[in-house]
């Protein structure tokens, strides 16, 4: 709604011919246009400067289409049984569950101190700066860094994934806390409630549904992340099987089978998450 925002403009601007100008060039339009132009130019420049290494594009695309066809129309298992495959999916889900729950518990406490209406300004900004830093490091790098101290295995993966989950959840939780009506908090403070009472009797009960939806959303993400960590950081689970099938056995049919398996689980989680979100969350952005 541009009109609502530009209501301070006193009268219609007119062109030389006397027509009313419909478009006005405010700061908003300038920034919008500049971003557009910048992204367009960067995209063109990017395509021109990539190192294509003289690849035959048509050949590669035809090959990919053929591979994808084999994958999706002739999925098969050759290096494991169906039961073992399900077990590996279970490991991946387990990694997702553990990192989400541990992350959620730690985040809950941190978010109370990160929310501006419940904490002091200094503490809140300090937490937000640390969180921003943690979020900026890709999960896989966290996992590999922890693997130096803990060795490759589920411990490093879960610590690394928990780190990133905390960075995400503290932001989401503290924003949910900040949406609480300031009047309610003030009334409780005036009534002599201490900080802990306010948190346990007002803040958490009134945000429970949104906290749970955010947590489930993160779990959905963490499942995908766990697949990736299995492949990139040797965490085991279905991601590792995927890496073996494609990079070591070159078995396209098995890649297809594993992809279907992941797809089914991921879509099931997504449906659950949308249902939860529809029921509990309204009007909150995802970023």
């Amino acid at each position: 709604m541009t009109i609502a925002k530009d209501h301070h403009v006193p009268r219609f601007k007119q062109t030389n011919a006397g027509k009313i100008k419909i478009k006005t060039w405010g700061k908003r339009q300038v920034v919008m246009f500049t971003t557009f132009l910048a992204l367009f130019l960067l995209t063109v420049y990017g395509f021109l400067t990539f190192d294509y290494k003289g690849i035959s594009f048509v050949q590669a695309v035809t090959d990919t289409i053929y591979n994808v066809k084999v994958m999706f129309f002739q999925p098969a298992m050759s290096h494991f049984t169906f039961g073992e495959a399900l077990g590996q999916v279970g490991v991946t889900i387990g990694l997702g569950i553990l990192s989400t729950i541990i992350g959620a518990i730690i985040s809950l406490f941190l978010a109370l101190f990160a929310a501006k209406n419940l904490s002091s300004k200094t503490v809140s900004s300090a937490i937000i700066i640390v969180i921003t830093f943690i979020r900026a490091v890709p999960t896989v790098l966290w996992v590999l860094i922890f693997a130096i101290a803990a060795g490759l295995g589920s411990e490093a993966v879960i610590i690394g994934m928990t780190f990133h989950s905390i960075a995400f959840l503290v932001k989401a939780y503290s924003e949910a806390f900040e949406e609480i009506d300031e009047g309610v908090l003030e009334a409780l403070r005036a009534g002599g409630a201490n900080w802990w009472h306010i948190v346990t009797h007002a803040v958490i009960p009134s945000t429970t549904s949104s906290l749970l939806s955010w947590t489930f959303l993160r779990f959905e993400t963490n499942f995908t992340v766990a697949v990736a960590m299995g492949a990139a950081a040797g965490a085991g689970g279905i991601g590792f099987e995927l890496l073996m099938a494609s990079n070591f056995y070159f078995d396209l049919r098995e890649v297809g089978f594993i992809t279907y398996l992941i797809l089914i689980v991921a879509i099931a989680f997504e449906l659950l998450s949308t249902q939860l979100k529809k029921r509990f969350l309204s009007g909150t952005s995802m970023s």
């Binding site: 919008m32 971003t35 995209t43 990139a232």
Partner: protein, 261 residues
């Protein structure tokens, strides 16, 4: 009354917490995760991180080649996001309740988006690696496909939220489909869509590190190389340079978002 409700809430909470503990223990035994061992390694890990946080002069010599790969990664993430955004717009217009052409295409576009979104980027990367090899295009297409799926969903939600009213009004006044889309839907949704694209550019820089490790390209490959050689000074340099780029992009997008939304 109130106490009764309070008590049942308490009972619910206890059941919920017990369930949570059971699920956690089951997952821990499934993944062979050792709580005590991980808590013990935490101090060790943090001492390691802090003692390796400083970039030595030796590592700084590698800065030009790190910058080179980093710039490639940034461009990879921008090109894949913008092209995916443009393609996603078309599918989102078909998929949204407000602008759908008919129910069949609406359903179809939602299904296509869901499939693309839920096949993990790792799978795309590994599949593309087979025919594209260690090439920038492997990363480009992997990021493109995953971003495409995500953006279609985000754009559909944006169009549904912002334009159902104006579409109805324009339909009533006899505007054609093309006019409605060009004059109402796109201008109204553009700021929100731009915000999503900026968010995905930032996310994709992190994702392309992962793709790079798997496919042997870009900054991810460099990280993996020095990591395996245990040259941790360069590893720190690479990590910090990624952090600076991601935070830089986040600050720019936050500014743009504040102005346009």
């Amino acid at each position: 009354m109130i106490t009764g409700e309070y008590r049942s809430n308490k009972k619910q909470l206890t059941i919920f917490l017990l369930l949570l503990i059971v699920v956690m223990l089951a997952s821990a035994s499934f993944t062979e995760f050792n709580f005590i061992y991980s808590i013990q390694t935490l101090p060790k890990a943090f001492t390691w991180i802090i003692s390796n946080l400083f970039i030595t002069e030796q590592a700084l010599e590698k800065l030009p080649s790190v910058m080179d790969k980093l710039i490639e990664t940034v461009f990879l993430s921008i090109t894949s996001t913008t092209t995916a955004g443009v393609s996603a717009l078309f599918l989102a217009l078909l998929g949204s309740e407000a602008t759908k052409v008919n129910d069949f295409f609406a359903k179809l576009s939602r299904v296509i988006a869901s499939v693309y979104r839920n096949i993990p980027i790792v799978a795309w990367a590994l599949i593309l690696l087979l025919s594209f090899g260690q090439n920038a295009l492997t990363g480009y297409f992997a990021l493109f496909l995953a971003t495409f799926g995500f953006l279609v969903r985000a754009f559909i939600e944006t169009i549904d939220e912002t334009s159902s009213g104006s579409v109805e009004a324009l339909q009533a006044s006899g505007a054609t489909y093309f006019q409605i889309v060009m004059k109402a839907v796109i201008p109204e949704c553009l700021p929100q869509m731009m915000s999503w694209i900026l968010y995905m550019i930032e996310t994709n820089i992190r994702s392309s590190t992962l793709v790079g490790i798997l496919t042997g390209t870009g900054i991810g490959f460099m990280f993996d190389l020095y990591y395996k050689n245990m040259n941790y000074e360069v590893v720190t340099l690479i990590t910090l340079s990624i952090v600076i780029v991601v935070i830089g992009i986040e600050l720019i997008s936050n500014y743009v978002r504040r102005v346009i939304l």
